[in-house]
Each structure stands twice: as C-alpha cells, then as structure tokens.
C-alpha cells in the first residue's frame, strides 16, 4: 500500500491548492483586520484570533496572481509555521483530500520565478491538478520588499 497524505484544499483564482492537513490549525471566515502601514504588500494585516495576534498573508499577492475581485470576502486558513500561526487568505475552501504519493510530480521546469520556490509540486487528481504549497516559504517574507499602503 502506497503512502497517503491528507491535504486541506482551497481555491485561488480558480486554481486548486493544498496544504498538508497536519500543518493547518483551523479554517475561519473573514475576521476584522488591522492593516499594517509600510508592511510588505502581501501582508493584509493583523487579526485577533482569540487573543493571539496573527499575521494575515494575501496568498493571491504572494503567488503573484490577479488581485481578489472587489466584494469577495476572503477565508482564513490558519497554518502553523516555524514562527507561529499565520493566516493565509484564500478565495474559497475545498474538501480535505487524501492522496497517494504516486500521484505527486515536481513542478515543470517551465515554472519559474519566486513562485516556483513556494510550490513543491502537484498531485494529479482525477479531474484536476492540486498545487502543493510550501507553508514555510509562503510565510517567509525575506524576498518581499517594503510595500506601499498595504491593503489598498
């Protein structure tokens, strides 16, 4: 029997992404957010998660996708990173899927740039591809310069 892993899936600009379920703390609806001026643009703000202050990262911006359409309320996928909890802002939450290792494939050489570092590879599901996100890389901001007027 091949090894299996469980993934929490979500959508970003119609693409299916997944993070390993064991790295996910919780999934919550959008919360009041305090914006952080001068912060990197990918940081949407800070949220109060039951007394814990958590940084919210706009995954669309982080993965260099189109900005979220106005009026669409983001969902929070709170993941545990090395530096504590981080909330990833996504469009929509999908199912929890169980995949076998055999369906995994490294990203093609043609995927380039900063995004490549954050995508470990894809799992070939029956109907589509699920991008596997590297949580640590996605939460690291070392490669992001200071932004202007975050959240605008």
């Amino acid at each position: 029997m091949a090894q299996t892993a469980q993934f929490c899936t979500f959508y970003l600009d119609k693409l299916l992404f997944g993070v390993e379920l064991k790295g996910v703390q919780e999934v919550i609806r959008s919360l009041d957010m305090t914006k952080v001026p001068l912060a990197p643009g990918v940081v949407s703000g800070l949220i109060n998660l039951r007394g814990q202050i958590v940084t919210a990262v706009d995954l669309r911006r982080r993965l260099e996708l189109e900005p979220r359409p106005a009026g669409m309320r983001a969902m929070n996928v709170v993941v545990r990173s090395e530096d504590g909890a981080v909330s990833l802002l996504v469009d929509e939450i999908g199912d929890v899927v169980e995949v076998e290792e055999t369906t995994f494939e490294r990203p093609p050489e043609t995927l380039r740039g900063t995004v490549r570092a954050m995508i470990l590879g894809v799992h070939k599901l029956n109907d589509r591809l699920m991008h596997v996100l590297d949580i640590e890389k996605a939460c690291q901001m070392t490669d992001v310069a200071e932004g202007t007027a975050a959240g605008h």
């Binding site: 952080v36 001026p37 703000g45 007394g51 940084t55």
Partner: protein, 803 residues
C-alpha cells in the same frame, strides 16, 4: 515518562546545579572552611554522577567521578581549597557543562573524555590522600582497616589538615601511596555518607581543628533548616504555560471590559454585582499571573562572581564583588534581554576599570578592587548600577580619540561637558582601551550594550571620577508585557504610543494652525515655548495619504510631543483617544522589517492596534540621523537659537582650586602638554606649538603674591609632574598659552549676578551654575606677563593691588 523526558529533566536540573556550583565554588575559595557549602557542592556533583551512571553517560560519569574524589578529600578536611584546586574544579564544571550540551544536541555524551582534566584532578586529590595516609599510617600502623568509619574520619581529618600545611606530599612513592589501604577503607564510609549527606555532615563539624564552636553551631542550624528549604513549595512550570496563561488573562481582561460596558447600560443590579466581582477577580488574577513572570535579578547576577573571578585571574587582578538588591524583581523577558549587556559591563569594569594590584597600592587604594552591583526600583523603573573603584574614565583621552576618529569635531569636543564626553564610549566603534584584550577593547560592545538596553525601552548612562571609579547606570522598565500607552487615531486606525517616550500633548485649534505651524524650507515646525519643534505627520510617514497637512475634521491639529534619543519632535495625529494599559505582543517575523512598529496589542473592543516604535519612526522621518551626532550638537544649537542673553564660558580650576572662567569665544584651543615639552626662554616658559613658539603664562604665578612671585616665576617646570593643561588664547593677533590647574566644564549661563573683583587679573566675580566664579581679565594677564618678563614681579596690575 519516556527516556528522552528523563534525559531532558536531567539536563534542566543539571544546568541549574552547575550554575549553583560556579557560585558556591567561588564562595568557597574565599571561605574554605564553609563545610556547609562544601557539602552542598559535593552533593551536587554526586547527584550528577549518579544520574549519569543510571542514564549510561559513561564519559560524563568518569569526569564527575574524579571531581567527586577530589571533593571527598576536601570535605573530609584532608585538603584545603586553594585557587589551584578551585580552578581545577571549575574546569570540571565547564567540562560537565560542555558534555551536557553535547547530550542535548546529540543525545550522546560526546567523544572527548577530558583525560588531562581527569589526570589533573586525580593528581590534586592524591596530594591529599598521600599525606593523609602517611600520617595515619604513622600513627595507627595497621589498625585503621578495622576502625569504625566515623572514628577513622575523626582521626584523619585533624591530622591531615595539619600535615598538608606543614609538608607538601612527597612526590616520590606516590604510586605506592595511591594504592595504600586507606582510601579503600574509606570507601564504604563514603557510600554511607553519600546516601543522605545532610544528616551525616554535622558529625564532621564536631572536629575541633578549624571550625570555631560558633561556626559549628551556625552550620548545624543551617543544615537543620535546609531540608525544609529544599522541599519548599515550588514546582517547575514550563515558560510556554506561563505565556499561555498570560495570553488568556489578557483575553479575560478584554472580556471583562466588554462585560462592564454592557452591564453599565443594563438596569440589573444582579448583573452589575456579578460584573463588579468579576472585575475585581480579573484584576487580581492579572496581578498574580504577572508575578509568575517576575524573577529576581539575582538569578543573572549569580553567575557574575564566576565571571569576575575568571576575568580578574586572567589579568592578574584582585576583585571583590558586592551585590545589593539581589531580590529586585523584573519581568522574565527583560531579565533575558539585559543578561548579555550586564555581563559585558561587568567584564568591562574588571578589564578596564579596576587597575592592577600594584597600581592600586600606588594610588593608595586596597590591592583588591571592588565591584558593586546595585539594583533598586524607582518610579516604575528598575535601576541597575555597576560601580567599580578603579581608575575612572579619562575624559581627555576620550575627547582626543573621538576627534581622531572623526566621531565629533574638534569644536564640538571643546564644547562638550565631561558627562557628554563620557557617554561617547557608547558610540559604535569607540574604544579607548590601549590594549585590545580578548575581553574588551575591540570597540564592539558598549554600543551593543546601549542598543540592547534601548531596545527594551531602557537607558544607559555613565559617570566617572578620575582615579576614583566609574558607575554605569542602566534604567529599564519593570515589564515589557503590559505598558501604559497613549492611544491615537490616524487614517481610521488606532496606534499606541508607549508612555515612556511621551512628553506632552499640544492641540492647535483651527484658527491657530495657520500661524502656529511654520515652514523651514518646506519642513513644518512648531514654536514650542520659543523653540522650534520639528513636526512629523503620522499619516504621511505611514503613507496612509499622499499629502496630509491638517488632519482632524474640525481643522484642529493634535501634536504629540515625543522624545527619541535626546531629540524631541512633534507627531501630528488625527485624534488623541486615551491612555491605556496595553498588553504588548511582539510582531511576527513577516513584519520584523517594519521598523516603525514595536509590536501590537489587542484593544478593548477586540481589534488589533499597532504600537509605534518612536525611535524607528524618528529615524524614518530623519528626525534623528544614524550617527546621533545631531543630538550631541543640539545643545550648542539650542543655545544659539534661544537668544543672545546667554553666554558660553569655559570653567577651569585656578590655583588653590578656585573656580575661574573665560568666555568661550576668547578660546582658540584646549591643549595638554607633557612637562618635557616645556622649555625655558630666559625666565619665560615656552613650548613649540604648530611651528611657533608659544609663550606659556602660568596662572598660579600671575595670581601669586608679589613677594613670592619672582621665585615662582623663575622656577623651571618640575620634571615629574603630570602634563600641563593649557588654554590657547588669541589676543591682539598673538597666541599665548595660559597654564591652569584643571579644565572643569563648558557651561552656558546668563552670568548676570556680578560683584567686584577681589584680586588682580580678575575682571569681576560672577555666579555661574550657582557658584561664584572669577572671570579672568585676559588683557591684564597679558600685560602682567609681558612686563614681568622684563621686570619680574612688577607688572602694573600686580603693583596696583599688592597693597
């Protein structure tokens, strides 16, 4: 409990024990007769050894074993602790610590089993064993194998301590002696002792040799009280549990605030009573949980005796350390943050501050230097002072070095007060140590100390008296977890400003804004009591709006006057809300690059607010530049800006320590010449200075009474006196040097309280800095000096007042 849990517990406990060992060994070195402490040291090592054997760390066990052997001899009085033994034992403690680290990292006790260290320890313990056996053998011949252990010990201990003192162990025949039956005979006894050593030790203290009856009594009393102490009601709690508790209490406080708001609007006495009680309980709970995070500063000080001992020994110095206020409590996070800065300051004091024993004796001080650590609470802050009675800082050398390094200009150097000069040592890349040592003098350190202390909202200041010593004072807040802050609104969001940086609040109504805020080439300023306060618009700095002048809806301007690194500036915000106690939460790594914010906090309504980092904000807005040099020149600039009525004077000591002054404007430079550079031209003192011959006028001679003047004038400089302090003055296009006793300070004063002169060469007496000071009449001095060269002692001025 799994094996790794056991190992973890063992590590935690052993680290603590080792720290205590450091302390106790250094204490023992001073007071080798303290059997109580010796017993404790022995017990600690024995415990480590025992646990190692149990957990299978054989190398560690071996090292601990030889240490234990040596300690056994010490404990039984066969050896007396001396520096050599202490060093060996401390070496063992270090080795054990090293191996524990290895275990922590790899789970194994490493490859090294310290053969040299073990040999050394064995050799040292055999010295004791050998002489003890020799004595015992001579006295009791073969009987001792059958003697009861307790008796044996009684017999040997007094004999051996005498023996060691009289004759060093014979080096020959050592091999034979180590196999002598005596240690073997003691073996069962050792086993018996090491079980519950607390009860057994008092028997030993009955020895009449060294311990006086009082000591024995005291030792017994401490021992009796110790078991109770040891089982004092404490348990070990993980720091993460405390942090979690703190978070929950923070939440509870927020929920309480909301509840109080609601109960205020509802007409229900029952609800109100309950929410009142809940209010009280929550407040008390908050206080208690805060207490769990408090630790006495003694926890970090306890390692300093060892540090001081090692550093002092390395330089051949003798230093005693004294501590006051060990029990002063500080938040755990602050304790951690100041540990390194304090260690550096302590090492620095021993390395640079305290002189070598011989130099100290020459200076009329005790051979051993004193290092005093003092901690106390004051005004919601904790003060920590590190005082040494060493050589003190050399203001002139720092001044010179600072100019050489381009840290300050020569002009600034002249204007700076002694205290400002001393504080230059905290600038980056500044070290006046003549020798670079492995401890300090590399020019890194003092600036890091300052940066680290400022990072937690503290300040550092240094005071020093030449030849008497130096005091470094560190002021830090009690806690970082909860701080009072001013909450302001800007661009619709709230920001908290730590109260420590807050000076005052200014509100300009709409009709005052126009003339209140002025522009200096585009940079907005506000006249605050006659001084220009640079204004920083928070919404612009945070890039919340493209341009924002006035902020509040009604056209009024709210200015928060802040202090950052000795610079003041006004922060313009939309609205000033209230002051609040806020719970500080650090920013995550993703936001660490944003220097404008010091942290975040949850407000009463559950929303998150950012805490402004005033220093970071000031740097961003270029209120302060990185080199801090503007802060240093600020005082001079202030003087210029604040009006003409004040003048700057150079204060110096004249003959007989009288306080004298000249206007700074008449001064060209301050110089220091070694006496060897002074030459005689006729009866006139001169020196070569910048390609000229600079005549030197000695103030003490000018002011001398006429009958002594001639002799004094013609006296050549005394070769062995220290360098002379010279004010280089320009008068009528000619330079001359005025030799004074000592430069005191440069001050600014109105100097408007005057009275007539009482002696020659003085214009008038004046009150400067609340003290009477004589203002010198430079032309008169020159005339006196000039004429005196031709007609000694009969200058016009001196003749005039001689009667």
């Amino acid at each position: 409990m799994s094996d790794s849990d056991i190992v973890q517990d063992f590590l935690v406990e052993s680290y603590e024990n080792l720290d205590r060992l450091d302390r106790e060994l250094v204490g023992l070195e001073k007071n080798p007769q303290d059997r109580d402490a010796l017993a404790s040291v022995f017990r600690t090592i024995h415990t480590i050894k025992g646990t190692c054997g149990f957990l299978g760390f054989n190398k560690l066990e071996k090292v601990a074993h030889v240490g234990e052997n040596l300690l056994t001899r010490l404990r039984d009085g066969q050896l007396t602790l001396n520096p050599e033994l202490t060093t060996a034992l401390l070496g063992m403690v270090d080795a054990v610590r090293q191996m524990l680290k290895e275990i922590q990292a790899t789970g194994q006790d490493g490859q090294v089993d310290y053969p040299e260290l073990r040999e050394n320890l064995t050799r040292l313990s055999q010295v004791g064993a050998a002489s003890a056996v020799k004595k015992a053998a001579a006295k009791e011949s073969s009987a001792h194998a059958k003697v009861e252990p307790a008796t044996l010990d009684k017999e040997i201990a007094p004999a051996s301590s005498k023996d060691v003192a009289l004759s060093p162990a014979p080096t020959s025949g050592k091999a034979v002696l180590t196999e002598a039956p005596k240690p073997a005979a003691l073996e069962p006894f050792q086993e018996a002792v090491s079980g519950p050593p607390v009860e057994t030790v008092p028997e030993h203290t009955e020895e009449p040799v060294a311990a006086k009856p009082d000591d024995v009594l005291a030792a017994q009393q401490t021992l009796e009280s110790r078991p109770r102490e040891a089982v004092a009601e404490t348990i070990r709690v993980g720091v993460n549990v405390l942090d979690k508790l703190m978070t929950l209490v923070g939440e509870l406080v927020l929920a309480r605030n909301q509840l109080l708001q609601i109960s205020g609007t509802v007409e229900d006495t029952g609800l109100q009573a309950v929410s009142q009680r809940m209010n009280l309980i929550a407040t008390e709970l908050q206080g208690e949980v805060m207490k769990t995070r408090m630790q006495p500063i003694g926890n970090i000080w306890s390692q300093f005796p060892r540090t001081v001992r090692d550093v002092a020994l390395g330089f051949g110095k003798e230093v005693g350390i004294e501590m006051e206020g060990k029990e002063t409590e500080l938040d755990k996070t602050i304790i951690e943050a100041i540990k390194d800065p304090l260690t550096h300051l302590v090492r620095n004091s021993v390395d640079h501050g305290i002189e070598l024993p011989d130099d100290r004796v020459k200076a009329g001080k005790d051979r051993a230097g004193r290092l005093i650590l003092r901690a106390f609470h004051e005004g919601g802050q904790v003060n920590i002072e590190i005082t040494d009675d060493g050589a003190g800082l050399n203001g002139d050398r720092i001044r010179k070095k600072a100019v050489e390094r381009g840290v300050i200009t020569a002009e600034q150097a002249v204007r700076m007060t002694e205290r400002e000069i001393f504080n230059l040592i905290f600038l980056p890349g500044f070290s006046t140590a003549e020798k670079v040592t492995n401890v300090s003098g590399r020019g890194v350190g003092m600036d890091v100390v300052k940066t680290n202390v400022e990072k937690i909202g503290g300040t550092v200041d240094v005071q020093s008296t030449r030849g008497r010593g130096t005091t470094v004072r560190v002021k830090i807040p009690l806690t970082l977890a909860i701080i009072p802050a001013l909450v302001v609104t800007c661009g619709g969001d709230r920001y908290a400003i730590p109260q420590v940086s807050l000076l005052e609040l200014v509100r300009l109504e709409a009709d005052e804004v126009g003339k209140g805020i002025e522009l200096v080439h585009g940079a907005p300023v506000y006249r605050l009591r006659g001084r220009l306060l640079p204004l920083v618009y928070l919404n612009r700095e945070l890039k919340l709006v493209a341009d924002g002048h006035s902020a509040a809806g009604d056209g009024a301007v709210n200015i928060v006057v802040l202090q950052a690194d000795e610079r003041q500036f006004g922060l313009v915000v939309d609205q000033i809300n209230d002051t609040e106690e806020i719970v500080v939460k650090p920013l995550r790594k993703q936001l660490k690059t944003v220097k404008t914010f010091a942290g975040s906090s949850i407000m009463g309504d559950g929303k998150v607010a950012l805490i402004l980092d005033v220093l970071g904000l000031a740097q961003r807005a270029s209120v302060i530049t990185e080199t801090r040099d503007r802060a240093l020149t600020e005082k001079a600039a202030e003087a210029a800006a604040s009006g003409e009525e004040k003048q700057t004077f150079l204060l110096f000591a004249g003959p007989g320590d009288s306080r004298m002054a000249i206007p700074l404007s008449t001064l060209a430079r301050l110089e220091e010449f070694p006496v060897a550079q002074v030459e005689m031209s006729g009866s006139q003192w001169v020196t070569q200075y910048r390609g000229q011959i600079l005549p030197l006028v000695r103030l003490n001679v000018v002011l001398e009474e006429r009958r002594n003047k001639l002799r004094a004038l013609q006296a050549p400089p005394t070769a062995d006196s220290g360098p002379i302090q010279v004010l280089v003055l320009n008068h009528d296009g000619r330079s001359f040097g005025l030799v004074v006793e000592r430069i005191l300070d440069i001050v600014e004063d109105r100097a408007d309280v005057r009275s007539a002169a009482t002696r020659a060469a003085v214009l008038y007496s004046v009150v400067i800095g609340d003290r009477v000071t004589e203002m010198l009449d430079i032309p008169a001095i020159l005339r006196g000096a000039d004429v005196s060269a031709a007609r000694p002692g009969l200058g016009p001025r001196s003749a005039e007042v001689a009667n």
